[in-house]
Symmetry: C2
Subunit: 750 residues, 2 copies
């Protein structure tokens, strides 16, 4: 009984109505009707592998008639503990921890009785969080057999019937979490820390970033509001402050990130790379350095494939750009040139076209990006993910900002030159009107409000739409599907048959697991993407509409809560991976912040006069050199300010860095003391302040004595023996000095 | 006798004619005539301090009648060895070494007999180089008493009579060194390694940089020669290749620097900071983290003083700029406008003015920079040095490049507008000619050759002058002074009196030491400055005259040898400090490399047409926007290329990184093995592949048995007991699968 008691102590779950039955992971196992024999054989292998990996297993029927649910838990406390110890030692060796973990006491040897001891031991010193436990369990499931795991990797080869391996939500915690957050205005470090303990550092970093960004948004929101009231759009003062803010935020986050990583004890975990099971190696080679067998894939081949990113980016620009540009052209034509029949319906045409084409193309391109990244064949997860994120960023950059870029830097400045080419549409449209007489058109005027309307659309409406598609739609969809399924399963006998088989005390639990098995995996990349794109609007275009930050402030308050809800209810519980930063998104942030200095300068320069003077529709006799000078100046001021801010931020202290210093200092002190002890015991003659002189004198006298015994010394030895010991040197020196003084006084007397 | 034998083994010096008598350091002690009593008291303290720090001392008269030479050596081998061990442990704790140094064997305890053992022990494993020995001896002399040193810091407070503490040159090595290098075309890593062993890493890094730069210069020299033949000046192709080369060189050096630091085992030594004895603290505080007493100086005060750098830079620009600009204006006026009497003499006027004012101002400003840096009151040597180097770079940037900038971007483009203002000179000149009739002037033409002449002057003539002032002049000066002194001392009796006192077998040695005491300290900053400024010419202006790199190639071959000569003969032996990089100069290199992309683009854009078409003297209807676009484009291409090159260079392997990987791997492996052993001995139940299943089954069966004894279990416990062990799970699963298949086939039959 003690074993399960101690395991209860590990996982302080609400035991009563919403217990997870001590399950660590659930494996969703599919049995395709035409491969049931293979699936059966593979199932046997799977259970064997898990069992020999140290897991207890249970199997239950899934919801549909072609799936099984395999429940998995670590069979013994001692296995968990030795895994934890091993993982912590590895962390130490890779420099993630400053210090070796204390070894488990040998008395905890006997498994059945002393699990308790161990549990208490770990719990007192460094508690094992649920995230750590689940992460280690997952590692044990997926690690290759020769590294001590069960070698089960979902969806590939032998394990192609393993559809998903997922942990179970902690309902009680989730409920509390959502309730807490919906009542709070501001999240503190404790809130983020609790996320970290449950969902791991990767998810916690997202929320920490979101929270830090939210807190930083307060300033541009307040300043933006003031600027909106007092300065109006395209104010250079706003642009300068906004850029400065972006720099400060970016540099602050870079430090905060390190700080959090240190506080969470994960600084440098990115150095511990997880091999990608999908990696295809060309040959096995022997590492010249370590002598280990490593899997090699030619870096030149990879480079060649990475170069495909260039045509890929070009394809993205071409595909998405042409869709956006042509919708844009149609829109301008219809709203601002065309004045014919059906105008009220035709105005919706470009929006419809965009709504159809844009997501389709984005999905296609994202899939292409996935394929490309797959092709690049990285050997580690992180490298794969970083490469994929880069591509996703390119796609999102184009879909998000290209429209505004076109308005700001093509439509308004060059509109007069370009619009005549829209005659193409006019001619096409004329074909469809039978009479062949020219269509009624308005005389065309550049619409300077267009830019601000577009920015407002992207910063307000698009955020709301986004929220809806991200959160409400999947929720509703799931509800509908579930109802449909229920009706279906009530109609068919088969599944109720299963349900009848459920033991009554398990029935609720199993029903819950079957629900969770149908949820999507949580992908933190999507959430980061959204925030980074949002930051981009603020950095690049908020000078057009200074209220941007206010809108984002509101949005992000909701965002944090809706993301929490999404994780808690719309997604499977994520596997609690560790991370030591927000990863490749940091570069994207830095890029957007820098680009902001360029676009802001250009926007202010181009539009400042329009917003001040009367917009007469043709203030566009811009001086090219002045525009370029403004951009050049702004960009370089930005870069210098960045250097200065970086220098200043580095000098700041932070809890994380203090912690690191404290730990390092303690470690050094302890080791120095140990060394000093050894020094004494080895009697190498520690010099010290007091011991020094004695040794010196003794040594000298010793040497002198021996030399005098030996009779004759070399000139060298004689040199060091002319003055025996310090006192003789002092005597001789004093004599020399007084002699010199005497000489001098004599000389001056002469 | 064994002690000195083993010390012989440590320092493999040429023993015969040029022995240094085992001296580690010489202290040059001055006795001002009016303070001889204080000097005498201080002398006693000094010898006491040294003696209690573990040094043997000898005193001899100096050359002049107001100086003493104090000879110092470490009194015992065991002191040296315990210091070495201590220093190596510290390195390990600061992460400089991957691994703890092996503890000296306890049998080496007895000092007089077993010094041998120790020496052999260190020598076999990691030999103690002369640089390490001298560095530790110096540390022991200068460290405060409470840290185990003698607390002697030259020139301050109590020790104001200590003029200099310097090690003695190893004549035999120096001779060999110069002979070797003068015969070699190319220096290899072994040559640099020998420098490192003698003069420490700081000096070795300079030579490594010089060598690396020299090797990299081969390419631009060859390409520049080809470009000079085929493309002529202001070729955009040359500019692109040159910028690309600068990027590659810079990124390569950044990696090479790390590589060397790892190979030399000094990576991260800059983290071990040496406190500056001149640091003035405001108060003593307790470090909140470590609890140690630390000396505090308000960072805000320092920041306020650092802000003085801005007016300082402005003052530099104003002072040097106005001197250069007015000389420049006078020169133009005289050579290109003025046509009156004394022209042949007056043409030298600006050169004379520059030669007088420029070095004077530079010296003044450098001294001001020193004062300012002193005022900023840094607590560590490195911070002080970095701040000083920044200021020196600003001064040198202005003196070196401002003239060319003025020619290229003011004189030629705006000459037509500006030259009329030179009438001021004309009017002044007219005053001096009595008749009041207008002076004869040429009609003014912009001289497009001026720029290339100036660049050629700076890249060839200035380098030669530099070599002369740096190397030949001090050498000659010293020779002359020495002769004068000899004559003087032959005339006076006093000093010959001393010399008569010298023991005949020491006389030569003492004479040599007296010579060395009069030499200057070697300052590696000056040498770096020269190279960085040279790199600047290449990066910024070589597009004007593509042969620049050829000139530098020749110059640097000589430079390496003359710098070696300078260290060996013109300077005191430097104290062998460690370093892990070329320090703040790296930033200067990066800045110049970046600025090169801007100036090259501007120069090519402005001058390309002149050099191609006939220089008609007025091609200066430049399009501002096109120029700015060219600069903007070039700069951003540069930045992108830099990112790409950085990415590629990072992927390269290098001996240093391999060494680091090997050491880390060995360390991890060893520790893992030790942990694994402990794991076994602690019997925590290592999971492994084989042990896992047994444990699981046993644990499960165990649990089941106990539960069945206890009678009733909770639903949770019951859940995990439905299938006892893996085999039951497999059975149940198989049954479920076949049932499903049966259902399905039934359904499909229906």
């Amino acid at each position: 009984m003690t074993v399960s008691q101690s395991s209860d102590r590990f996982r302080d779950r609400d035991k009563h109505s919403q217990s997870n039955f001590d399950v660590d992971y659930v494996i969703d196992y599919t049995i395709p009707p035409n491969e049931s024999a293979e699936a059966e054989a593979s199932f046997t292998q799977l259970i064997d592998a898990l069992s020999s990996g140290g897991f207890a297993t249970e199997v239950r029927p899934g919801r549909t008639s072609s799936s099984l649910l395999i429940f998995v838990k670590l069979a013994s406390q001692s296995l968990l503990q030795s895994q934890i110890y091993r993982a912590r030692v590895q962390d130490w060796l890779y420099g993630v921890r400053p210090d070796a973990p204390p070894a488990p006491s040998p008395s905890a040897g006997d498994d059945s009785d002393n699990g308790d001891n161990m549990a208490r031991y770990f719990a007192d010193d460094e508690p094992v969080t649920e995230a750590e436990r689940l992460r280690l369990a997952y590692m044990l499931i997926t690690l290759p057999r020769n590294e001590g795991g069960a070698g089960v990797t979902q969806g590939t080869g032998q394990w192609r019937f393993v559809k998903r391996v997922f942990p179970l939500h902690d309902r009680a915690f989730n409920k509390q979490w959502i309730a807490d957050w919906s009542k709070k205005y501001n999240l503190d470090e404790g809130d983020i820390g609790r996320i970290r303990d449950r969902f791991g550092e990767r998810v916690a970093f997202y929320f920490a970033f979101l929270q830090s960004y939210f807190a930083f948004l307060l300033f541009p929101a307040a300043f933006g509001f003031a600027a909106w009231l007092l300065l109006g759009p395209f104010s250079w003062l706003y642009a300068v402050v906004n850029c400065l803010w972006a720099v400060v935020f970016f540099e602050h986050w870079k430090m905060k990130e390190v700080d959090l990583a240190v506080q969470w004890g994960v600084r440098g975990v990115s150095k511990i790379q997880h091999p990608r099971p999908q990696f295809k190696f060309e040959r096995e080679g022997v590492d010249p350095v370590t002598g280990e067998v490593v899997k090699v894939y030619s870096p030149y081949k990879r480079l060649a494939k990475q170069l495909l990113q260039v045509p890929f980016a070009a394809a993205c620009v071409a595909a998405l750009g042409s869709v956006i540009a042509s919708c844009f052209a149609i829109e301008i034509f219809i709203t601002e040139v065309y004045n014919g029949p059906f105008k009220q319906y035709l105005t919706f045409l470009p929006t419809i076209l965009l709504t159809v084409f844009n997501p389709t193309l984005t999905t296609l391109l994202t899939r292409l990006a996935e394929k490309l990244t797959e092709l690049e064949n990285y050997d580690t997860h992180d490298a794969h993910q970083a490469s994929f994120v880069r591509k996703v960023f390119v796609i999102n950059f184009i879909t998000s900002y290209l429209g505004i870029f076109l308005t700001a830097f093509v439509y308004v400045p060059f509109g007069k030159i370009l619009v005549p080419y829209l005659d193409v549409f006019q001619l096409t449209a004329q074909r469809f009107t039978a009479e062949g007489k020219p269509l009624p058109t308005k005389s065309w005027q550049i619409n300077p409000d267009r830019l601000s309307k577009q920015v407002m659309y992207f910063t307000v409406t698009a955020q709301i739409i986004n929220f809806a598609t991200e959160f409400i739609v999947p929720h509703a969809k799931r509800k509908v599907f579930k109802t449909v399924e229920k009706v279906q399963s009530e109609l068919s006998e088969k599944s109720t048959e299963h349900h009848r088989k459920d033991h009554p005390e398990e029935a609720d639990f199993l029903e819950r697991v079957r629900d969770e098995a149908e949820l999507d995996e949580y992908d933190v990349t999507i959430d980061y993407r959204e925030m980074v794109v949002q930051f981009g609007y603020l950095s690049l275009f908020s000078v057009v509409w200074p209220l941007t930050a206010c809108s984002f402030l509101v949005n992000n308050w909701v965002e944090a809560r809706s993301d929490a809800m999404k994780i808690a209810t719309n997604c499977q519980r994520p596997i609690p991976w560790r991370a030591d930063s927000i990863g490749p998104w940091l570069d994207a942030l830095g890029f957007l912040s820098w680009l902001g200095s360029v676009t802001s300068a250009a926007l202010v320069f181009l539009y400042h006069s329009t917003s001040n003077g009367a917009p007469d529709g043709s203030p566009w006799d811009i001086k090219g050199w002045a525009l370029l000078l403004a951009i050049l100046f702004s960009e370089h001021v930005y870069l210098v300010v960045q250097l200065v801010v970086r220098g200043l931020v580095r000098k700041l202290d932070s809890p994380g860095l203090q912690k690191e210093r404290r730990e390092r200092f303690a470690m050094r002190k302890r080791l120095f003391e140990r060394m000093a002890k050894r020094d004494v015991s080895a009697a190498v003659g520690g010099p010290g302040v007091s011991g020094g002189e004695k040794i010196t004198r003794e040594a000298l006298e010793d040497e002198a004595r021996r030399l005098s015994v030996a009779g004759e010394g070399t000139p060298e030895k004689m040199f060091w023996l002319r003055q025996r010991g310090a006192s003789e040197t002092i005597q001789v020196g004093k004599a020399l000095i007084s002699e010199m003084t005497a000489n001098k006084t004599k000389a001056s007397k002469d």
